[in-house]
């Protein structure tokens, strides 16, 4: 698991209110099907911004952006977040 993948899962654990552990999810598992609510996705979004020191632009504030660990990592990459290094920094 990449360090970004680990950080994303930690954010999901802390903010996602998922009925399952985010650590057990595969990169492409659908987070909404695994119980991520709209409200929790907002907390996840804010948690990711804090953890990776980025701000999601309006056009990325869509359901799809947060649908899986892989999708989140892809979005963070487009924002230039240091997803390959230690994002916990």
């Amino acid at each position: 698991m990449s360090s970004a993948g680990m950080t994303i899962r930690e954010v999901l654990e802390a903010n996602g209110r998922l009925p399952v552990s985010a650590m057990t999810l595969r990169d492409d598992d659908d987070l909404y099907q695994n119980g991520l609510s709209s409200h929790a996705s907002v907390n996840v979004m804010l948690g990711l911004e804090n953890a990776f020191d980025v701000e999601f632009p309006d056009e990325l504030l869509r359901r799809d952006t947060f649908k899986s660990v892989a999708a989140i990592e892809a979005a963070l990459t487009t924002l230039g977040a240091h997803v390959q290094s230690d994002a916990n920094g």
């Binding site: 709209s38 409200h39 907002v42 309006d58 799809d64």
Partner: protein, 309 residues
């Protein structure tokens, strides 16, 4: 959000002025609240009866108290989604020995309200929010329970535009039961509601809803609502040709079922849906469409709304 009358609402200011000059609405002591004349009220009551008579489904009918327990705002997620729109009430709940402090503050023209504390009461923001607490902890049949409810509602969004009142009334047709019934209820009512409004001469269109969720997080919430096709609005010209929502149909999934522990026979959480008529907005849309002289409205509209009785 800019709630003044602006260029996005051509003619809204003239229409507002005409409504006030005709005495149909009288501005209340706070911005965004209006007293309505008996003539305006007669339109509202006509719409209530008209939409009510259109449905022959056996149902519970309730005129709801406007107050909610504050906890309902949490369970409905309203406090997270629309923290800027909610209204909670406060009272002086300190010991009597603190009364001189209040008196002193009032007499000095200071901020006496800060000596008050939230008393657990909230103003309701939607009529159907009053129903779920009455079902809390109970089981409903799969075929569902049907409700027709009306409530005076509050949303804190001060505006000069009568199309955006802080105090308004909403009549809703609500279903609580199995998923298929909840989806069908919203679909049927979107069609029925839109047809009823069109039959009053309004040019209506049904579009995905665009609720004003709060802040940047709200963009995500709104996008999510649209992508899930959870809520639709029936829009029409209200105080300006630029249309706004006069009704909406909302499928909540099992959100309220889970939050209020309303279950089906299987033990699963019940699903719910609702269709709401915004009574003041529909009244304004009719005045905008047919003119401020109600006596000259088309005979069919006057008849549908029992305006000649």
């Amino acid at each position: 959000m800019d709630n003044t009358l602006d260029a996005t609402k051509p003619g809204a200011e003239e229409f507002r002025t005409a409504l006030l000059e005709a005495g149909l609405l009288v501005p209340a002591s706070v911005r965004g609240a209006f007293h309505r004349s008996f003539a305006f009220d007669k339109i509202v009551r006509g719409i209530e009866s008209f939409v009510s008579a259109s449905w022959d489904q056996q149902r519970h009918q309730l005129m709801c108290a406007p107050l909610l327990d504050q906890s309902v705002l949490v369970k409905s997620d309203y406090v997270i989604s629309f923290p800027n729109l909610i209204g909670v009430l406060t009272s002086f709940e300190r010991p009597e020995k603190d009364l001189p402090k209040l008196i002193e503050r009032v007499e000095a023209g200071g901020d006496w309200a800060e000596l008050l504390s939230a008393n657990g009461l909230a103003l309701g923001g939607a009529a159907c929010h009053h129903i779920y607490p009455t079902l809390a902890g109970s089981a409903v049949p799969d075929e569902g329970l049907f409700f027709e409810v009306q409530a005076s509602c509050h949303r804190h969004e001060p505006s000069d535009d009568p199309a955006r009142m802080q105090s308004f009334s909403m009549r809703e047709f609500v279903f609580v039961g199995a998923e298929a019934g909840a989806v069908a209820h919203r679909e049927r009512w979107l069609e029925r509601g839109s047809d009823l409004l069109a039959s009053l001469g309004l040019s209506v269109e049904t579009v995905p809803a665009n609720d004003p969720f709060f802040g940047r997080a709200g963009l995500l919430m709104g996008a999510s609502q649209r992508e899930k096709a959870a809520k639709f609005e029936v829009i029409a010209a209200i105080t300006s040709p630029n249309p706004g929502a006069i009704s909406s149909g909302n499928y909540h999934g099992d959100h309220f079922g889970k939050a209020f522990k309303i279950s089906l026979a299987s033990g699963d959480a019940a699903h719910s849906s609702c269709f709401a008529f915004g009574l003041e907005r529909i009244s304004l849309a009719l005045l905008h469409r047919h003119g401020l002289d109600i006596a000259t409205w088309p005979a069919s509209v006057r008849s549908s709304l029992s305006l000649d009785d």
